[in-house]
């Protein structure tokens, strides 16, 4: 059997949803960031698949490459901030980040 576009998109969608759920449920900051990665990669799968099946063509591939790079950059900053948070709170439990509210 040959996989068609929709199945790829389905995978992408699943990844996306998993990522979102992960972000929304994980209490560990690192976990949340992993959720972000999942979301981005879900999109990436879409791009690649579209590049293959539609006349989006190489643009899709390029796009996904850019995304990977940006994701790395973002992850770097995010981890730095998480570290900073840990320095101040001695934890990376995001639920402890509840001083600012109202």
């Amino acid at each position: 059997m040959t996989a068609d576009l929709n199945s790829y998109l389905f995978v992408g969608a699943v990844l996306f949803v998993c990522g979102v759920v992960c972000m929304a449920t994980k209490r560990n900051g690192i976990g949340v960031l992993m959720g972000v990665e999942l979301v981005l990669n879900g999109a990436n799968v879409n791009f690649v698949a579209f590049a293959r099946y539609t006349d989006l063509g190489l643009d899709g591939q390029v796009f996904s490459l850019f995304v990977i790079v940006l994701a790395a950059a973002e992850a770097a900053v995010a981890l730095a901030i998480a570290l900073n948070f840990y320095n101040n709170h001695l934890t990376i439990d995001v639920d402890r980040a509840n001083k600012l509210k109202g």
Binding site: E74, N84, N88
Partner: protein, 536 residues
């Protein structure tokens, strides 16, 4: 075509066309490099980084001025794609470059006045600032979904860091964490939306979107029952969400108050104005790129009305939530949300009008809408920065940003108070201050859009109602400053008329007043910028 020729063509085009068009960004990047280099060789001991930054920003301003000259010289409307159509270089872009570089300059001036950051961190901080600015400029000039995403990320990532820049401060780090996670999530969502749009329409070139959309809609009902359209509209929705995060529209505003409270007033001021400006530039481009496709008018109008609805909710929410705030920065954060609501009214009017059947006939009003938005942004720059500047300056003396710490301030430093008064009444939208003119322009266009869709009248009504609401909390602050007695134990705030701080804020206030009294020049410029987007 053979590869070498292609290469030649590319090189020549880049050197002759793209790079000049990109000169401002290049200048900023150069400044970043310069600053980092200087620290490498310890030059910054002798030349404070802020000076370098000021020089860089000023140079950028000069470059934009040159670009204005060049565009003004051209007889036709300039709208050229650079970097093989990734970016677009037109009056609109230049306007935003000018706006952002001016704002950059002012922010640097403020930071160097209030001494945030200290000299060691200067290069890092200013590099982040410049980087974010470049990202915002790219957002405003994006012509490709790729650049759209890149711009957003380039603008966001440094701002995450800036929010968390106050080292060793719990609120700061917490704010940064929230901001980064929220922002990353929003970016992911937006990216997914982009993937849908790009995939279904088969292009990342925004200038082609409308046409492709039309093809996609062709034969279909033009409604959501058509699977392609459904996917696209979902994609559009997700992108909008991503931008809504940057504009802090309800219900994607949660990061805003926390981040502002955690960050220093300067950074908050920067975020509240600059990132909004970039996002609005992008939103306008996207909206225009999507609108006008045959067969999808009603869908786009629906989007416009939806944005209008969001606008109403946002303004009302922002104003009401601001009522009970005791921290002035937080209060201003909510007012920022409210003002984003006002401004996004213009975008909804834009969508509604440019998808109406008589769009061609309404071109003038469409331009007016964009013009109003740009004008409002510009006024907002001065009045909001003014407010945040006052907060920052007072904080340096009282070490507090609570509203109560401003009690009876008028007795000690009337200048600050009067500037605050001007800024806040301008935020309310009272003549003769600039805020009134901007608000009037936006309401006017929304009102005009009412001819197309009745809901826009509701939007105007909400805008008017919120004007009254907003008065209450602004005036509460003013009441505290002017009518209460200064507590005996309060720390003194000796800011005299001669001091640099005073001159700085007075200048801002003067601009607010000037934009209210003589709107002609700026509105003409903004009008030209809007003209460059015109379709018809």
């Amino acid at each position: 075509m053979l590869f070498p020729q292609l290469l030649d063509k590319l090189i020549s085009e880049t050197t002759s066309l793209s790079l000049p068009g990109f000169s401002v960004e290049l200048c900023l990047s150069a400044t970043i490099v310069a600053m980092l280099m200087m620290r490498l060789v310890n030059l910054d001991r002798f030349v404070p980084t802020s000076v370098t930054a000021v020089l860089g920003a000023f140079a950028a301003l000069v470059f934009t001025w040159l670009q204005f000259r060049q565009i003004g010289a051209a007889d036709a409307i300039v709208s050229q794609k650079i970097f093989t159509g990734l970016l677009i270089h037109d009056t609109f872009t230049v306007f935003f470059r000018a706006f952002l570089s001016l704002f950059l300059l002012l922010t640097i001036a403020l930071t160097s006045l209030t001494g945030i950051p200290d000299n060691e961190d200067g290069p890092d901080f200013y590099s982040l600032l410049f980087g974010a600015t470049i990202g915002l400029m790219i957002m405003a000039s994006a012509n490709s979904l790729l650049m759209l995403f890149v711009g957003v990320e380039m603008a966001s990532v440094p701002s995450y860091a800036m929010v968390g820049f106050l080292k060793g401060r719990k609120p700061s780090s917490e704010a940064a964490l929230k901001f980064v996670v929220y922002g990353a999530g929003a970016a992911g969502v937006m990216l997914y939306g982009i993937s849908l749009i790009a995939g279904v329409l088969g292009t990342v070139d925004m200038s082609l979107l409308a046409a492709r959309l039309g093809e996609a809609a062709a034969g279909g009902t033009g409604g959501l029952s058509d699977p392609e359209l459904r996917a696209v509209s979902l994609g559009i929705l997700l992108v909008m969400v991503g931008l809504a995060f940057k504009l802090s529209l309800v219900p994607f505003h949660f990061w805003c108050p926390d981040a502002f409270e955690g960050a220093s007033a300067e950074v908050a001021g920067f975020l509240s104005v600059a990132s909004k400006a970039g996002a609005f530039g992008l939103l306008v481009r996207l909206a225009l790129a999507l609108s006008g496709a045959p067969g999808t008018e009603s869908l786009m109008i629906a989007f416009g009305v939806g944005i209008g609805f969001i606008a109403c909710v946002t303004t009302t929410f922002g104003n009401l939530a601001a009522y009970s705030q005791t921290n002035l920065k937080r209060l201003l954060a909510y007012s920022t949300i409210a003002h984003a609501g006002y401004m996004v009214m213009a975008v909804s009017a834009l969508l509604v009008m440019s998808n109406s059947v008589q769009a061609a006939a309404m071109q003038i009003d469409i331009n007016r809408t964009v013009e109003g938005l740009l004008y409002y942004l510009f006024v907002y720059l001065f009045m909001n920065l003014g407010a945040f500047a006052v907060v920052a300056i007072a904080r340096n003396h009282t070490f507090s940003e609570e509203v109560d710490s401003f009690k009876g301030l008028v007795g000690q430093s009337p200048t600050l108070c009067i500037v605050m008064l001007i800024c806040m009444f301008s935020l309310v939208g009272m003549p003769p201050f600039g805020g009134f003119v901007g608000k009037l322009m936006i309401f006017a266009s929304a009102f005009k859009a009412g001819d197309i869709h009745w809901f826009m009248y509701v939007v105007v009504a909400f805008g008017a109602l919120n004007t009254v609401f907003s008065l209450v909390y602004y005036i509460r602050v003013l009441k505290t400053m002017f009518m209460d007695e200064r507590p005996a134990d309060a720390r003194p705030v000796p800011v005299h008329l001669g001091s640099l701080e005073s001159i700085y804020v007075v200048a801002l206030a003067a601009f607010v007043l000037l934009l209210g009294l003589l709107p002609q020049f700026l509105s003409a410029t903004a009008g030209a910028a809007a003209q460059s987007l015109a379709k018809f």
